[in-house]
């Protein structure tokens, strides 16, 4: 495995100090950066800083229609990876998977790793299923790109990239068996915290808020909100520009036709005007090309990033939930404890009534009226309360630990997401800039080309 890795990458010197630019790696979708090349090895990681154990470069390629002539036809994709992660048994695992397999992978990963931001899958696109367009090359290519991005996000996650399920997804030759096994024996501890669940279910409702909000998470939440706001606004404006550009494509086409018509009328300059018309046509084509190859992918990516961010937000929400679990349980515990204390005070000589306020006094009165004021029942009740307190204390303890662990995990997760976000933004903006540059360069050449042709028209006024 290592030997193979060395073979593959021997010829490439990633770390050459004289050339700190990005080198076109043999097959690296995310080539090594020119500045961050040593960041990984730097010590001084904070407690919440994620750590990548190795790399996993994935790709989804070659969609093929399987069982083409049956009603069970489906599309399979070649998923492959390059990795040095020890969990993989080969550095170049690959398999063919269908969309359903991706769905299974995602569902189970999000179940198994609730604290991780598991990237979302592309929509199922019901319409294409109904119309039968799901085997069209455009649809398959688009889905391939979506799935590629999904796997890329998984592989960029320091925890998820090492999950057994993902490994199986890439390596297993008996994927169906793996799926069954996984469902039957999910990894990790079972859900045994029945007390918390039952209690918190009764206590919590959707509108409750964290009482002692953690500054860090508030800031995070705000950051996510603003990020999503920015993405949404950008997406909205950019799609408006996209539509305008589309309209302009038509306009320039029409103008080319009009200029050609003018050329027919002006017999003396038909030829140069035809050239000019061609330039307008070319410009129109370039506009369309940019929309298709730059703007549309950019918008798709933008939207996909927004959904990824939604998943991130869900994890943040879940963390709040855990904190609320803990807070509510603590409240409940203190309530029960004070009840027990009051009872104890009553038993030890009705001393507590005065100190415990009007409500306790009223409760005593009511209890007295119901005839439940004999000490025996009080002692019985106290014993029950003690047991409950004991149970609750455990639960609070667990909830506290869970909440803390979750918080830590969330902090790390946020950093992970930040990395992923930056990398994706870089790719997205970079592609956008590349596309724009390509367009402007080509258009500029085209206009430059036509100027001397028009200038050659000879007129004496």
């Amino acid at each position: 495995m290592l030997g193979e890795d060395d073979d593959v990458f021997d010829s490439v010197t990633w770390e050459s100090p004289s050339a700190p630019t990005y080198d076109a790696g043999p097959s690296a979708p995310t080539g090594p950066g020119f500045r961050q090349s040593t960041a990984e090895s730097e010590p001084g990681h904070g407690p919440h800083d994620p750590k990548w154990e190795g790399y996993l470069i994935t790709s989804v390629k070659d969609p093929v229609k399987e069982l083409a002539d049956t009603k069970d036809a489906y599309v399979s994709y070649l998923v492959s990876a390059k990795t040095n992660l020890p969990i993989f048994s080969t550095p170049n695992p690959s398999a063919r998977r269908r969309f359903q397999d991706f769905v299974f992978l995602r569902n189970h990963l999000s179940k198994d790793f609730p604290a991780c931001v598991v990237p979302p899958l592309p929509d199922k696109h019901r319409l294409e299923y109904v119309t039968g367009d799901r085997f069209s090359p455009e649809f398959m290519e688009r889905r391939r790109a979506d799935l590629h991005r999904f796997l890329q996000r998984l592989s960029r996650h320091p925890t998820l990239q090492r999950s057994t399920l993902l490994r199986a997804f890439f390596e297993s030759t008996e994927w169906h068996v793996t799926m069954h096994q996984h469902v039957a024996h999910p990894p990790g501890p079972e859900h045994t915290t029945g007390v918390i669940d039952s209690i918190s279910d009764t206590l919590l409702n959707a509108f409750s808020r964290v009482r002692k909000p953690d500054e860090r998470f508030l800031a995070m939440r705000e950051g996510v909100d603003k990020f999503e706001e920015g993405i949404v606004l950008t997406e909205r404006l950019w799609s408006r520009i996209r539509n305008r550009t589309n309209d302009l494509t038509g306009d320039y086409h029409d103008m080319a036709v009009a200029v050609q018509g003018l050329g027919f009328l002006e017999s003396g300059i038909t030829d140069p005007l035809n050239h000019f018309s061609n330039t307008l046509l070319e410009f129109s084509a370039l506009l369309r090309h940019t929309t298709q190859t730059t703007t549309d992918p950019f918008l798709i990516h933008l939207h996909s990033l927004l959904q990824y961010s939604h998943a991130n937000r869900a994890v943040l929400k879940l963390r709040d939930q855990k904190q609320m679990d803990f807070e509510e349980l603590s409240d409940y515990l203190s309530g029960v404890t004070s009840e027990r204390d009051r009872l104890a005070a009553v038993i030890s000589g009705h001393a507590g009534s005065t100190g415990l306020g009007l409500s306790s006094y009223l409760k005593d009165r009511v209890d007295a009226l119901r005839g439940a004021d004999d000490d025996r029942s009080r002692v019985e009740k106290m014993r029950k309360l003690d047991a409950k307190i004991k149970e609750l204390q455990d639960a609070v303890q667990t909830a506290h630990e869970t909440s803390d662990a979750f918080s830590d995990e969330t902090l790390r997760e946020q950093t992970v997401f930040q990395y992923a976000k930056e990398a994706e933004m870089k790719e997205m903006l970079g592609n956008l800039a590349d596309g724009q540059m390509e367009f402007y360069k080509a258009a500029m050449d085209e206009w430059d080309r036509i100027i001397p042709i028009i200038q050659r028209i000879r007129v004496d006024v």
């Binding site: 320091p158 018509g261 300059i269 930056e422 870089k426 800039a433 206009w447």
Partner: protein
């Protein structure tokens, strides 16, 4: 007289068109002073008219004014024909309320050292005046008035709309320069006075030549509608409608008309519509870019580090696109949309010009028809006159045959000899002393006089009156036909020459439009390219994702072989 006249074999043509008799009449009729309706103005016209306007009828060289021209009518003329590239500039548009109850915009025109201020309506008036002075020339258009819709939408604001004023400023300047470059129009003193600004436009309007313009230019000489000495034959010309069909149309001008119609339809149709649509789209697009630029800028504030500056730079690239698109839009407006609109207007003007020529042609044909009809009528009259005379002669001979009855049978067959025969007959005193044309007339009258007793006298007198009237009309029509032929010839050649000049100008303008459009787009691309390149450089600085193939990780990976499994399992579940 005029280059077009000297160029064209006018004299040869008149021979073809006119009869020998009409040339004599022409001299007779054009020699006396002008028709009574215009006579009152005559005293003032020779002195003022010829002094102020020597340019049009007499200035010899239109093709290359600077080469030939030596006698300038004024300093503006001299400046315009100084041989250098001169340009009239509208430097400013001022809001004033001089001589008016409401405010209006005046345009400051600088031509060399002279500076004049005129409002839009005066430009309009200048154009109308020139169009009437030169019915055979393509007078360049001025920007059209706002539509009623504009007024409705903007109401009082419409008059002071900055964009509209700027547009007018540009287009009015083009209008002036087009006149200044025109080989004939540039010599027009009215135009010079407009540029000079020394006298008010009202004064120019009320002094010759503009004050001498006839109400109907179709009934005035084509080469100079203000000619006070124009032949009265012009009054005999019909006033045909523009749609009157020609019997023998000129194929060349039919082609011109067809072409102009096609050109107008194409410009105002596909060209202008698609241009307007495109500009609207660019304008929307630039707004979107402005919004997006601001949005990205706001976005960048929420992010940190390299990502933030990358987003910021991307936003700046989008902002740059907004700026460059605004510029592109302006240039498209000025160098593409406006000339395009101008040429749409030109097409309308040329159509009118062709209508004028068409009407002139119809005038010619109608006059010809009229003349033929009159001649036929005259022939008819003369025939009946002749018959009557022969009858009278026969009667008279019958009377003489009473003296010598032998010749009575021979006369009816030999009517030709009658004139010779009657020559020596004793003349009767004519009952109609006005008619003394033919020597035979006297005899004729005498006969009719003698016949008075047995025949009614009135038909004969009426016939003679009709004959004399017909002859008068024929002579007038012959004259008119000659004038009309001359005008048609002049109009055709002048219009053709100006159309040729216009065509060259058009090609030159289209060339310029295309070049400027290409350059605007190229510059637009260039600016945006630079902005995006800068953005790209900033995007590149965003650190790469840690999940990538690094040499050291490749080497290290063996060490963490089993730890990874455990680290995952600790986070499995809750």
């Amino acid at each position: 007289m005029d280059p077009y006249e000297t160029e064209n074999p006018f004299e040869e043509d008149t021979d073809r068109v006119q009869s020998e008799a009409s040339s004599a009449y022409r001299v007779n009729l054009s020699a006396p002073s002008s028709p009574p309706s215009q006579s009152s103005r005559i005293p003032s016209s020779p002195s003022l008219g010829s002094a102020s306007r020597p340019a049009f009828p007499s200035s010899g060289s239109h093709r290359q004014p600077q080469a030939y021209k030596s006698d300038f009518c004024c300093t503006r003329d001299q400046w315009l024909h100084s041989g250098e590239e001169v340009e009239i500039v509208i430097t400013d548009a001022l809001k004033t309320s001089v001589n008016s109850s409401s405010t209006y915009i005046t345009y400051v025109i600088k031509s060399g050292t002279a500076e004049a201020q005129h409002r839009y309506s005066e430009f309009e008036s200048l154009r109308t005046s020139l169009a009437r002075l030169y019915p055979t020339l393509i007078i360049p258009p001025i920007p059209s008035k706002q539509t009623i819709g504009d007024y409705a939408v903007k109401q009082a604001k419409a008059k002071e709309d900055a964009a509209m004023i700027a547009r007018r400023k540009r287009m009015l300047q083009t209008f002036l320069n087009r006149i200044a470059r025109h080989p004939i129009l540039s010599n027009e003193h009215v135009f010079h006075r407009f540029l000079d600004g020394e006298v008010s436009w009202t004064e120019v309007l009320h002094s010759p030549p503009l004050s001498l313009l006839p109400t109907n230019i179709l009934k005035a000489p084509s080469h100079n509608p203000t000619d006070q000495n124009a032949s009265p034959g012009y009054t005999a010309l019909p006033n045909p409608s523009a749609t009157h069909a020609l019997r023998r149309p000129d194929q060349r001008f039919l082609d011109s008309e067809v072409f102009t119609n096609k050109f107008a339809a194409h410009l105002s149709g596909p060209m202008e519509k698609v241009t307007r649509r495109t500009m609207k789209r660019w304008s929307d697009s630039s707004h979107d870019h402005a919004e997006l630029g601001a949005a990205l800028n706001g976005f960048s504030l929420n992010e940190s580090g390299q990502l933030s500056s990358a987003i910021e730079k991307t936003g700046q690239a989008v902002d740059a696109t907004y700026m460059s698109t605004t510029l592109l839009l302006q240039e498209l407006e000025q160098n593409w949309a406006e000339p395009l609109h101008e040429y749409t207007q030109f097409a309308t003007i040329i159509k009118k010009l062709l209508v004028y020529r068409h009407q002139k042609h119809v005038q010619y044909e109608m006059t010809q028809e009229n003349l033929e009809a009159k001649r036929e009528q005259l022939e008819e009259l003369e025939k009946s006159e002749h018959a009557a005379r022969r009858l009278e002669e026969a009667l008279g001979r019958g009377r003489t045959s009473a003296d010598s009855p032998r010749t009575e049978d021979g006369t009816p067959s030999s009517g030709d000899n009658s004139r010779a025969d009657t020559g020596y007959l004793p003349p009767h005193p004519g009952p109609n002393p006005v008619r003394r044309r033919a020597p035979g007339m006297g005899f004729l009258s005498a006969l009719s006089y003698t016949l008075h007793g047995m025949m009614d006298v009135d038909p004969a007198t009426a016939r003679r009156n009709a004959i004399s009237k017909a002859r008068e009309q024929i002579s007038l029509l012959e004259d008119a036909l000659h004038l009309s032929a001359q005008d048609l010839k002049y109009s055709s050649s002048t219009i053709q020459a100006d159309l040729d000049r216009f065509q060259r100008q058009k090609v030159a303008d289209i060339r310029e439009m295309a070049i400027s459009m290409a350059k605007s787009h190229r510059d637009w691309c260039k600016k945006n390219l630079e902005a995006w390149e800068e953005a790209k450089r900033e995007v590149e600085k965003i650190p790469d994702h840690p999940n990538r193939m690094l040499e050291e990780i490749v080497e290290d990976s063996g060490g963490v072989a089993n730890g990874s499994r455990e680290s995952t399992s600790t986070i499995d579940g809750h």
